[in-house]
Chain length 473, copies 2
Amino acid sequence: MSDALFATLQQLLGAAHVHSSDEAAQYLTDKQGRYTGQVIAAVHPANTEEVAAVVRACVALKAPIVVQGGNTGLMAGATPDASGRSVLLLLDRMNRVRQVDTDNDTLTVEAGCILQHVQDVARAAGRLFPLSLGAEGSCTIGGNLGTNAGGTAVLRYGNTRELTLGLEVVTAEGEIWHGLRGLRKDNTGYDLRDLYIGSEGTLGIITAATLKLFPQPLAQATALLAFDQLAQAVAFLSHARAGFGANLTAFELLSADCLALLREQFPDGPQPFKGASQPWFALIELSDNHGEQHAREAFERVLGEAFEQALIADALIAESLAQSEALWLLRENMSEAQKRAGRNMKHDISVPISQVVAFVAHTDAVLQQHFPGVRNFTFGHLGDGNLHYNVAHPLDSTVEAHMAQYAELSAMVHDSAHAHGGSISAEHGIGQRKVGMLGRYKSAVELDLMRRIKQALDPHNLLNPGKVLEVQP
Amino acid sequence: MSDALFATLQQLLGAAHVHSSDEAAQYLTDKQGRYTGQVIAAVHPANTEEVAAVVRACVALKAPIVVQGGNTGLMAGATPDASGRSVLLLLDRMNRVRQVDTDNDTLTVEAGCILQHVQDVARAAGRLFPLSLGAEGSCTIGGNLGTNAGGTAVLRYGNTRELTLGLEVVTAEGEIWHGLRGLRKDNTGYDLRDLYIGSEGTLGIITAATLKLFPQPLAQATALLAFDQLAQAVAFLSHARAGFGANLTAFELLSADCLALLREQFPDGPQPFKGASQPWFALIELSDNHGEQHAREAFERVLGEAFEQALIADALIAESLAQSEALWLLRENMSEAQKRAGRNMKHDISVPISQVVAFVAHTDAVLQQHFPGVRNFTFGHLGDGNLHYNVAHPLDSTVEAHMAQYAELSAMVHDSAHAHGGSISAEHGIGQRKVGMLGRYKSAVELDLMRRIKQALDPHNLLNPGKVLEVQP
């Protein structure tokens, strides 16, 4: 069967675009090196019709289909299983920009476009495509759509879901849904678009999207703020939202321990607030449609009021683009700083913003009780209630001993997020890493609804099986 | 069977909350008086558990369930059929505000809350709930969710879908999905929320929602602008989006014929631009988080640039709240002005903004060719590409003769919207009025996907049958 399918795929796409497992090894291990799969073939279709033909060929032989973008996901959602029964679908040849429509403020791109390229195309048209995240130089817009990627601009512009007007999708039967609509309003039936977004390739294969564009801000202003306590940061967030309105485009929290780690791992990097005693900091960004001076005045007004009302302890306002970039470098270096310091346990949780203080206090305390000495490196998108609640080994223990306790420790963090009305995966998705955890946090009713939808749209469970949802054969 | 179900419902809810068809006559005809239904009973459950119990009782006897909010819909989506086999579910007793969370900027309300009450509760908490539409004094948030209502603030804040974080839903089996999450980011499975929103009660019954709140703007500025041609208005929209950013909160188009109709029907009302020769006008609103003076300066700057670049022909800036209200009255009176002038054919279409000019030119010409003398009253939400493309009878003919041609004329308008990449229902939904039209504009693939979802979530077709989608028994 495998040989027959391989030959069929070669006929459909040309031999140059169909590779064996051995030839495709670079795609078969997830970014973090936790999972490695095997496939019948890895294929690179040139267009939507070829994707549909691949799906039909796979369906005919009941071969599962795994779609992969830039392979930057953290949940191994794009890594096939080890059975060797699957076909891996790579959309790197589908990287065309189909339309730039500045009057409609939309961009239609194929799924294989690298996110940074999409940003660049928007900028060249005098517009902003605001989705922005660490992996933007290698992740694809198809992957962003499949996982409903978040990032640092969600506070103002929303997740990938909110940035998308239309989709083109190949169904589990290998048919094409032409849903590339550039409409702000369209109430003509069920919202298929949002069902596919975030479904991680388990309901259909997204091949293209029509995305929203925004005006390019004329100026941006950045500041790093210090807070005497986390509750002060939450109160300031409300103040800033009221004072800046939609011009508040980032609100990134960093604990004092995060800043210390950055100083330690990047001794030549920026060292703001060195010696400061505050436990929490936030990087905020203001975008302005008028200009530099206007942005600066807004900053002075709103931060001035905040000082008067004791909503911030200290503030460092970037006076130049270079200073602004130095402040952003702190946030951008967090991933690398942690990597250099050795592995730690990452948790991508969200809670209602009103629960952030209670969540952190409770979870910190529970962990110290059960795992004395563990060190928290908590940072993230406070404006979205999304914290990267990362936990490193006690200094008197080893990374290995710490990581061996992943299951118990993570369950405590996730239980706490859940108990505070939160989510165990704010922006990273479920993939295969968290698929076994869903049963603990989703009700039987919700899991049943999800299974019904999966069964309805992918009755043979051929689209990315084993991801998002456990389906009984 | 009917008698048995009536008795069961009385037991479940108390006799005072279960009414016969005759007693419930006020709920059985749609707002426009086009459809009248019959029911076994109209019931007023007190809470979500009672809704679930009603659904289970109906399912046991295979009685369809129609949910109705304020009965303000234009597509008769909440009117039961004439078979007398259905139960009408009225959620007017479920009108509690469950939570106001200002730190999280969310509000949790039951589906029976009147939209204006939701706005008022937000305002009392110092926040804005931006959904705003003509029927806000009597429509319910449950109805807004069921139809994904739009309105005049979509340009800035989005449709009801974009304003909703979480839902509580009673399923077709009478189970409760507790999805009232107040999270900005949550990527843990399929997007059930958005599937229920806009499904017009055909997939589940929305009983409560967690909604987004926004800062109350400190100031608002209004202007009525005149354009030499429609293309100029579209070009100015881009300019205004760039110059005002998210502070541009309304962009409502009115044709010169609309202004003339308003003058005719409201001779004591405001008469701006009387005698002006421009064919198109737009009411724009700017919201500001700083203050009056700041808003005025932004207006002067952006409108000044627009004059220099010949993007507007004339402008009337409201100098006081009274003047602002007078300008808004024009837009708000459009519905009543048309009613006073006699019935006309209403079309709630949307197209990409870049297609608005071509759509209007093409459709106007086609109609004049086939129905000489018909009069266009085109207005709507240009910022969303959503036009109320309304067509009145020729002056040398009668309303009755004109309305008799609804099917042919509307098909031309809808065909044109479709040909321009648009939608035949931008914000009014499908209900029963447009259900027969979908087959003409949706592909077989899309209709099949919708039917699979309907079948998966409502296998016995008991939830609002005959609405949105035609399902073969």
